[in-house]
Amino acid sequence: MKLRQILAFAALLLVSIGSEAQTIKIGELNSYKVFPAFLEPYKKGWELALEEINRAGGVNGRKLEVVSRDDGGNPGDAVRVAEELISRENVAVLMGTFASHVGLAVSNLAAQRKVVFIAAEPLTDKIVWENGNRYTFRLRPSTYMQTAMLIPEAAKLKKKRWAIVYPNYEYGQSATASFKKLLKQAQPDVEFIAEQAPALGKIDAGAVVQALVEAKPDAIFSSLFAADLQKFVREGNTRGLFTNTVVFNLLAGEPEYLDTLKDETPEGWWVTGYPWKEIATPEHKKFRDAYQKRWNDYPRQGSVVGYAALYAIANAVKRAASTETEKLVEAFKGLAMPTPFGPIVWRSIDHQSTMGAYVGQLSKRGGEGVMVNWRFADGAQFLPPDSEVRALRKE
């Protein structure tokens, strides 16, 4: 009798501890006002994941709580916001950021303060390579990976004279450098005959298109996006640049950028992106249905990133059975998990996830831009050899 009472009491105690257990706090910061087109869907993505995880009982019996902040879109403010999340909100993990320089600054702070940081959106190679650190993990396929994904098709065409156009900052510069290096390896006789590097957001599209027409390239590699891409496409269409020239454009298949082109969508461009309507894998269908049901809107690339980033944290906390930083770092290394794009692994060598992207061609369908002839490119296959990565990380 007595034993039973003690057991009952103990059980009661456990239950009460369980229900009173604190939530796991996740600090989220992003440039919501600077890049709203990408980040509003991203926010909806992680909010959906948060609801799903908590409905299923949370992680290790504890609910997740996301403390979300606007990082102001510049490194100085972002670092202050991250400090606030760390020291006032006592978050267990940081996630977010969009632009590369903001991501790098927060990643550097994470290393200084010893907090795990999931860089969800930034594409810069440096965040996992040259400036990589123990506490930073990155979800999206990097500039290098996405560029490498376009190389097989580019090399197959056997075009000799290439022109390049890119926004003049680190993303465009490193995409260009990677593309030149990788294409030269695949096709040694390639020539790069013209380069245009307009300032980000300020392309003088008419003049750039005319300069490219004059250079007479067989093919063009572009890493333009957003307003620059739209201006380039419209001028190029009007001025006949694309009639005899194949174009490869990073990111242009992402709904955030593609959907604004509408009936200007250029036919036959090779792009990386996200054909959300057509991906029929069960994991993607499940995600898409849930997203559309919850938000009455279709998912964008950002939605997938936000959704997968929060699930990554949940999975790592589960694996670590703890929210202690050092245990979380170890749990992230080699963590395998499902995403709407299929299974991914968080590489222990450089903390890059193997999330892939979809490579395909642009086409117009009923006044809307779509991706056709697409295939999934698994991120794991588009990374440099480990020795190169180690050299870059100076390990």
Binding site: A37, G76, R80, A105, L109, N168, E170, P198, A227, T238
Partner: protein, 610 residues
């Protein structure tokens, strides 16, 4: 380049010049008559774009053009009559603060009304095609029909404006007011009506410029700032208040950019307009077709004698510093981080105020010195591998050196021209930081600039910041009341009399630049080590504007004003962005209320002794 290619690039430049000219002409008119530096002019352009895209769904592109322009003009009418009219008598540049608040409000309004995604407008019906130029064996190039339409619209508007200004009574009044506002008023011209009509015309032109741009460019939320800086450059290069000058400058800048691209120097477009502006201002101090400005009289120019701080203020400040020094006993967390930022920006604002208040030298590019200090700290620490303490100590000298060079040019100009030259220098430094990968880390900046072990804790770094900033601000204030400070103020209030009494006004002003640069550099160096990284934004336009906002919020005529302004602005941004989705609009609204209620700034609450 082939001949047809040269021709096409030339026409490309002309087409780009047209809408640039429209915005700049409006800005120039508004400044010429009302002396308002209209920061929201780019926002009017943006509104014109969004309205045109929106209207063209209903009534088609061609009807949408006048409708959008009229809509923006109506908005301009409301902004002038409800808001700006109330503050014409306030200190100079306060209107700049009000229009900055408008910019914040319009940006969030556009986000709320039209959503976050870029809106690519329809092509112009009837002008969808392009004229093709045949080359040898292939296409040599093509020019969109719509671009030719744009090429012709620029000169048409120029002619219309010229007729309006030179052949109507209204135009005569506008020209008279541009030349000498006070005399025009004294002759019985109703200034209120004149100001409103000029502002509305300016808004109309900006709206039309935006609407005309939609077949070439999507309506997007980033266009406002990018247009306003271009427009400022055009106005200044052309000469303030000169419409033909604006046209010439728009043409010059657009052509130089088009040929930079055509000849394969596309990277130079990042900073080309600012280089042109710097060169023009150095060679022709009042722009290509501008005239020497008339000395501003009236309420804007009246300055109270700067009295020593009152006993109340002295005690307030001493108690404040004491309380700040004791604060780490109560909190070791985020409060210290936020206060570190506030202290840094207080020093930054105080150094800008030193130039603008006692010096009467406006600077729109003060972030250059802050940024040079920050970058120098980063470079000394990471590239030269100096110890952190030494890097921190040497970095402000680099900023002072920058001020030594820029100041030499800037003190040779006056008023807004000098301010714009500082902006040009700041942008040139910015683009160097942005592109010089090996030294500055390019667009990503320098990462890993952390303080030495004994300063690594938040508390220790906070003490260092408090000590440095309090000391630096104290020295700045001491300087204001020293003989040097009196000479500086004499040069501001009456350059002729000062020169006659043996003061070398330029040398004094030049020294003021160097002192202000040094102080801003201290702030910048501390900033770099508090953030652990430094990127080009530290010396971007936004940072310079933030500094102006802090000074104006605090009140330019009070010595302690910039400190209150910096504290309020930094805290407001931090608190609003944490709690409110549309935090920019909220910040804009609060600034507007403050402008209305406290036109002399927060500092006037702690008024110095008369």
């Amino acid at each position: 380049m082939s001949v047809s290619s040269v021709l096409i690039q030339f026409l490309n430049g002309l087409a780009s010049a047209s809408s640039l000219f429209l915005v700049a002409a409006g800005l120039s008119l508004i400044f010429g008559v009302t002396r308002i530096v209209n920061f929201a002019h780019g926002s009017f352009f943006m509104l014109g774009m969004y309205l045109a895209v929106w209207f063209s769904d209903w009534v088609g592109f061609w009807l949408a053009l006048p409708l959008a322009a009229a809509g923006v003009a109506a908005f301009g009418f409301l902004a002038e009559t409800l808001l700006l009219r109330r503050i014409y008598r306030a200190p100079e540049l306060l209107q700049l603060l009000a229009t900055f608040a408008l910019l914040l409000l319009i940006k969030d309004f556009a986000l709320w009304a039209w959503g976050p995604e870029d809106l690519l407008g329809a092509r112009a019906p009837g002008l969808q095609g392009a004229f093709e130029f045949e080359g040898i064996g292939s296409l040599a190039g093509a020019l969109p029909e719509y671009d030719l339409f744009l090429v012709s619209i620029g000169p048409l508007i120029l002619a219309a404006l010229w007729l309006l200004l030179n052949r109507t009574r209204w135009g005569t009044l506008v020209r008279a007011a541009s030349q000498d506002r006070e005399i025009t008023g004294a002759l019985g011209v109703d200034q209120r009506w004149l100001f409103t009509s000029v502002f509305v015309l300016g808004a109309l032109l900006a709206g039309l410029g935006g609407a005309l741009q939609i077949p070439r460019e999507p309506a997007n939320l980033n266009i406002d700032l990018s247009v306003i800086s271009d427009a400022f450059v055009v106005v200044v290069v052309g000469g303030l208040g000169s419409i033909p000058g604006a046209f010439l400058a728009a043409l010059l800048i657009a052509e130089v950019k088009a040929f930079c691209i055509g000849l394969g120097f596309s990277k130079a477009t990042l900073v080309m307009e600012f280089i042109i502006m710097a060169v023009v201002l150095i060679v022709r101090p009042w722009g290509l077709l501008g005239q020497m400005p008339v000395q501003v009289r009236g309420p804007g120019a009246q300055r109270r004698r700067l009295a020593p701080p009152s006993i109340l203020l002295r005690w307030t400040l001493m108690i404040l510093v004491g309380a700040l020094a004791l604060l780490p006993l109560a909190s070791a967390g985020y409060t210290l981080v936020l206060l570190t930022d506030i202290l840094l920006f207080a020093l930054f604002a105080a150094s800008l105020h030193f130039l603008m208040g006692p010096g009467g030298l406006y600077s729109f590019g003060h972030a250059a010195f802050f940024g040079i200090g920050a970058y120098a700290a980063g470079i000394f620490f990471l590239q030269v591998k100096l110890p952190m303490e030494l890097a921190l100590a040497l970095a402000p000298l680099a900023a002072a050196f920058g001020a030594l060079i820029f100041g030499w040019f800037c003190v040779r100009l006056s008023g807004v021209y000098s301010a714009m030259l500082t902006l040009a220098f700041a942008q040139i430094v910015w683009s160097a930081a942005f592109q010089w990968d090996a030294l500055t880390g390019g667009s990503n900046g320098l990462v890993g600039v952390w303080p030495a072990g004994w300063l690594a804790s938040k508390t220790a770094y906070y003490f260092l910041t408090l000590l440095s900033c309090a000391l630096a601000i104290f020295c700045l204030w001491k300087t204001v009341y020293s003989p040097f400070g009196y000479a500086l103020r004499a040069g501001r209030d009456s350059p002729l009399r000062s020169a006659a009494s043996g003061i070398d006004v330029r040398a004094i002003q030049w020294s003021a630049f160097i002192i202000a640069g040094l102080a801003a550099g201290i702030g910048g160096a501390l900033y770099a080590f508090s953030k652990g990284s430094i990127s080009p934004e530290a010396l971007g336009i936004q940072r310079s504007v933030d500094g102006l906002v802090m000074v104006m919020l605090g009140g330019i005529q009070t010595l302690s004003g910039p400190i209150w302004g910096a504290a309020l602005f930094t805290w407001l941004q931090d608190a609003a962005s944490r709690n409110i989705d549309y935090w920019r609009a909220a910040a804009g609204f609060i600034i507007l209320v403050l402008v209305m209620v406290l036109p002399q700034g927060i500092g006037s609450l702690f008024q110095e002794k008369r």
